[in-house]
Symmetry: C3
Subunit: 300 residues, 3 copies
Amino acid sequence: MDNWLDSKLDNLVTALHPCGKCPASDAVPNRGKVIDVLKQLVALLFPGCHGAGPLADGDPAGAVVRDNLRAAAQALADQCARAFAYAGGKSGDDCHRAGEEAAAALFDALPEIRDMLAEDIVAAYEGDPAAQSTMEVVMSYPGLLAIAVHRLAHILYKRKVPLIPRAMSEYAHSRTGIDIHPGATIGPGFFIDHGTGVVIGETCVIGRHVKLYQGVTLGARSFAKDADGKLVKGIKRHPDVEDNVIIYAGATILGGNTVIGHDSVIGASVWLIHSVPPNSKVYNREPEPVVAAAGATATR
Amino acid sequence: MDNWLDSKLDNLVTALHPCGKCPASDAVPNRGKVIDVLKQLVALLFPGCHGAGPLADGDPAGAVVRDNLRAAAQALADQCARAFAYAGGKSGDDCHRAGEEAAAALFDALPEIRDMLAEDIVAAYEGDPAAQSTMEVVMSYPGLLAIAVHRLAHILYKRKVPLIPRAMSEYAHSRTGIDIHPGATIGPGFFIDHGTGVVIGETCVIGRHVKLYQGVTLGARSFAKDADGKLVKGIKRHPDVEDNVIIYAGATILGGNTVIGHDSVIGASVWLIHSVPPNSKVYNREPEPVVAAAGATATR
Amino acid sequence: MDNWLDSKLDNLVTALHPCGKCPASDAVPNRGKVIDVLKQLVALLFPGCHGAGPLADGDPAGAVVRDNLRAAAQALADQCARAFAYAGGKSGDDCHRAGEEAAAALFDALPEIRDMLAEDIVAAYEGDPAAQSTMEVVMSYPGLLAIAVHRLAHILYKRKVPLIPRAMSEYAHSRTGIDIHPGATIGPGFFIDHGTGVVIGETCVIGRHVKLYQGVTLGARSFAKDADGKLVKGIKRHPDVEDNVIIYAGATILGGNTVIGHDSVIGASVWLIHSVPPNSKVYNREPEPVVAAAGATATR
């Protein structure tokens, strides 16, 4: 092995070594460090329940909370500065300043995010007969982790931080199977049950107290192309979902002009590419499958 | 940054610091420690194959197995005691005792669980043409990890341990995309292939030698509400699946009165909300899509 | 607790201690070490972007790249040798040699794999309106991680290394929800968007510049059985997909004789069990659901 290796290593190093086009290491965010900050923030939002951060009686003066906040803010500002530097078009000082401002915006929003998550927790507890306590929701519900990460990433998305919001949302996707683009706008009291396979597109606008089940797609119908045949980026292409809507498992709702009116119920596996008015009930026609009973003996 | 931080940190600490309502740190289970115990137990059930625990020739007297068992039992009893304490209604001593009893019940069940898992492994090997060996099933099949975790969590669920069974099942869900509520009753020889998106509800009862594919939902049809409009918890709302049933990808079977008779085959994407007798074959009518051949030149 | 434990530990150790049938610890691959090698290789393919390995300016002579390559090659050869030893039929020396040859084959292929992944990255950037940069694709797109792992595992599959290719593909499945069997043959410029629930079977052959969405299954239609009723392993049972095909979310394409002709578009949720010619457009008939508007007041 070593002989083989020695004889080939020079060529391999040349082939795999970063060319001049690769970014310098201090000019690109580090995904691992972004995830570490994200975990710290989630722990700060749910103190004690996510295995990090102290609880009430262990930190009477809030000293640990303060230290964790400071470390997370500094690390986040640094990663955001790298993201701005990678994207180009800003001087080093401007990147540094923009990184701090983005981190500041996120930290300013933390109390409001915690309040929205409190509504999300209640929505999950009240919306799932299997939930035994709100603590169970906080500790174990993938839908809560996904929306918590989303509410954090969305703040950075609105500040136009490159790379980092998507790295955060993909962490949640990997953990939960729920893929929420950080651009989506989502009101409080949001609950996704089970969640695997859910996709929520970048330009979705979702109201208050909406409930989704696993496998729901809120997606694009088709992609506009420019004169060169390239996809046009940044236009509205995903649906709006108004307040108090329930969407059952596997439903697919597509298109930037599609609006699901408030208090509607969309049945499982429904395919919907146009708007429906408030209070609609949408379901598939005759989903009855063929049953061929071989023995046709009595069932129990 | 530091100036900004210093000026805002006081307010943030106040906003995010646990209020008096948060549980004390020793009165809530630690999810990370629960997962650590779970990993130790899985390693004990598959010695050598999961990267932890010794193998036959490395541990002739079983000393390492003994040490690992002891550590896992003590850690589990401690976490269960915290879960009982969090739920309230028990004195500290009673919580401690109940935690030990729950851990004892789980450890008493380990030999039986290993025997059931041995049947699960054979079912996977015999049920998947791509499986090259039973060791491949043990090392790499997500369905096996999901059912192993379920068989452990289900013991604690039956002992009414709060919080911990769900934390365990959600660990498996996160790793595999397979969401089995710890309340479900599942016989031996169970195999889920691929598995992403599978949901098995709390009150399901599944017989022996049942095979599921990815995206199968065994769910609730609707939720009963009480006089106040709140969901009623704890009633039978998920289907029964009898012995030797195969359910193909994406099928949805709902309702607490729905029974799939033994030796039935449920086709892919079938939607089923009532019982079928034994030996049934259930499939969708005319799934034939429209094919519009543009050029209509020869296919290869 | 300790009293209970002490009284039962002997029986438990006997019940759970590996029997004589368990493999010795140096004759079975260690999944954790296989994953470590895999992460090193992914980091070498995307220097700097995956949180490991140096970037251009930090490693001018490539010394770190060289060290990482050497360590990964040696660890991989060792794990492959264990896999051959576990499978049996080879002497210890032959296992050692076969392990080195498999690792050599993988390392020889690394430059070519990097070139194919470069096409995959461009395909993702050009195929998703939400993608802001190719770096975003590298850092955060689950489809890219899945295909990168697949391209590595497929080399070992072709060298008939037992156990390890499946352990690698299952790592990607766990992280992304995308389940690609290491046996599948996949051309360059491949893009899976969102990806959760995708299943690609062992004997699939996929051309160049193919795009899939979440929940697509390229699977087997039925399994051949031998005279004893056992599944026959190793025969062609999954479809071929030719160049420039797009398959939308949730489509299911089955069977070893099924060929999707080049430049075809398969609509969402389509169920297809026969071939279609090049340039076909395949979609479901009348997917229109029933809309029952309760209030029937104006939508916005």
